[in-house]
Symmetry: C2
Subunit: 328 residues, 2 copies
């Protein structure tokens, strides 16, 4: 019996590397395209009642999110999305509703924003639940894809945007706010949008790769504690982050007045689809210049303590265990 990540690691060791420059173990695989370009590609499986609930969202938002989470993986490589495949399985009772059409409406709305072309996929029947597999390919200049494995001791750790909002939105859905849509408050809608309609950070990702600014990058899908642990494992370094520097989503204070609870959501909640990246200290001034229009926050630095993450807070220092989302 394996944990999800243990099993993936086993499959990874079994896969012989031939055409892929980077295979299993990063946000995307990296495959040589031509003399100037690499192709990056990712797949994300979404399952009804595991990854989404029909009464908690809309068909359009399921379509949006299916593509957005894959675009976030493309962003994490510093690549620009180009084309996509979409496989969808639905039960007969859903086929005979407007779900399929509205799902594709939502998918195409965000695809058009990012110039993503649907080139193929599959349509199938399922016995009971909806399943979606979202495959997206992107392009990046040769050898410029930003990997999880490039972080060095002393590199500073940055995150984009604010964290914990995705998990905060999930908490609201779990509490049943969707049952009375007319009573949803503005701050609640902010958090619900973070959960149901994530926005992939393609612009920041491509700037970082084009300007050679990031030594390593990952998208925050499982949760900061888990995703930083993935990056540390691939880079064979450790990290020290400071709790008070973590940009916690402002509306989380409305959910809970306890600061610790908001921090917990930011650390372990997952589904923020922001980027976490590391930068050589010498490049910081240039980084700030080119990202002046974007919210980025330095939360700590990489250390030589391989695969150990230290969390420094007012009450002292502790070891941060990966406690983000996992299926198994």
């Amino acid at each position: 019996m394996y944990s999800e990540f243990g099993f993936i690691e086993k499959i990874r060791r079994r896969s012989v590397s031939r055409s892929a420059k980077i295979g299993i173990g990063d946000d995307c695989a990296v495959i040589a395209k031509d003399s100037k370009t690499d192709l990056v590609i990712t797949a994300d499986l979404l399952v009804e009642d595991i990854d989404f609930r029909l009464d908690w969202t809309t068909p359009e938002l399921v379509g949006h999110k299916a593509l957005a989470i894959s675009l976030s993986d493309i962003a994490a490589m510093g690549a620009k999305p180009v084309w996509a495949l979409l496989s969808i399985g639905v039960p007969e009772k859903i086929w005979n509703t407007d779900f399929p059409e509205k799902f594709y409406d939502g998918w195409f709305a965000i695809a058009d924003k990012f110039n993503v072309e649907l080139v193929g996929g599959d349509v199938s029947k399922t016995p009971d639940k909806i399943v979606i597999d979202s495959i997206v390919a992107g392009e990046v200049k040769k050898n410029k894809a930003v990997l999880r494995s490039g972080a060095k001791t002393g590199d500073l750790i940055f995150v984009t945007g604010e964290l914990g909002g995705g998990a905060g939105g999930l908490k609201l859905l779990d509490r049943g706010v969707w049952k009375n849509p007319e009573q949803i408050k503005l701050w609640q809608m902010d958090l619900l949008n973070r959960q149901r309609q994530p926005f992939p950070q393609i612009s920041i990702g491509t700037i970082l790769s084009e300007r050679n600014l990031a030594s390593a990058m990952i998208d925050l899908s499982d949760g900061l504690s888990s995703d930083l642990a993935h990056l540390c494992a691939e880079s064979k370094v450790g990290a020290k982050i400071e709790a008070h520097r973590i940009p916690i989503h402002k509306k989380l204070s409305e959910i809970s007045p306890l600061k610790n609870e908001a921090l917990e959501l930011a650390l372990n909640g997952g589904e923020d689809f922001e980027l976490l990246f590391t930068v050589n200290p010498k490049k910081i001034s240039r980084l700030k210049k080119v990202l002046t229009n974007y919210k980025i926050t330095c939360i700590g630095e990489m250390t030589a303590n391989a695969e150990m993450i230290e969390l420094v807070s007012a009450s002292g220092s502790s070891i941060l265990q990966p406690a983000g989302f996992r299926h198994f």
Copy 2:
């Protein structure tokens, strides 16, 4: 409410073509790779209790078939498979068995035969049933991918191998032969193998594209009547095929002594994963020379009666309606 193919057609019209040379509507999408090569890519969704049943097969054979059916799409473009993504969702109770490991055993066994590299994918939990999305990419010389749309009036129609075996195997499974495995006869095992362990026709496909021999091609997954109809629709021509020339799987006579029933399985049964291709009459002698070691059969010719398929048999001529597999 749409039929499956009607819905896909609608999605296809909505998709703006940019990077893809061929998008939705063929066995694979075709995307320019470099100055000498095109990339072809396909996705196939397999759902437990729709596309396979655990008591009718083994985990290894599910892994084999998941990859084989996508390789068959690659073969239908005349391409050579290169890399793959594999997304798999399993319920917790299956995760805690040896299914995942044996499934990958079967997948890797055929992947190694065809030099396919696993570069990524996803692992997820499902509430109840196993789902698999198999994505395979192949390479073909620039502009040499064989499309569904190239058939011309007068081209001869060929199929590889024998037809109806996949459907014959399914019939045996439906009759319950799997309940007494020690009593399965040799001829039954032949048909079961056709159903559970299909073999993709990569060699024939690549020979046809490299030698410029096929004007159009499709793999026989839904069934001859449906797949020939797809090819006719894309090529905007019709077809006339002769019943007595269709290479019916020999072991089907053991299932039913009625010739009509075997013909019905060969026409509409699906899942044979043989290739159907069309050839300009001038190229026939060259075709026979280069494919001398392979079983191919001419079953008829393309006609000017757009999208109409005529079936000629001893009892006369009739219009053949597409009656192969469809989900909706």
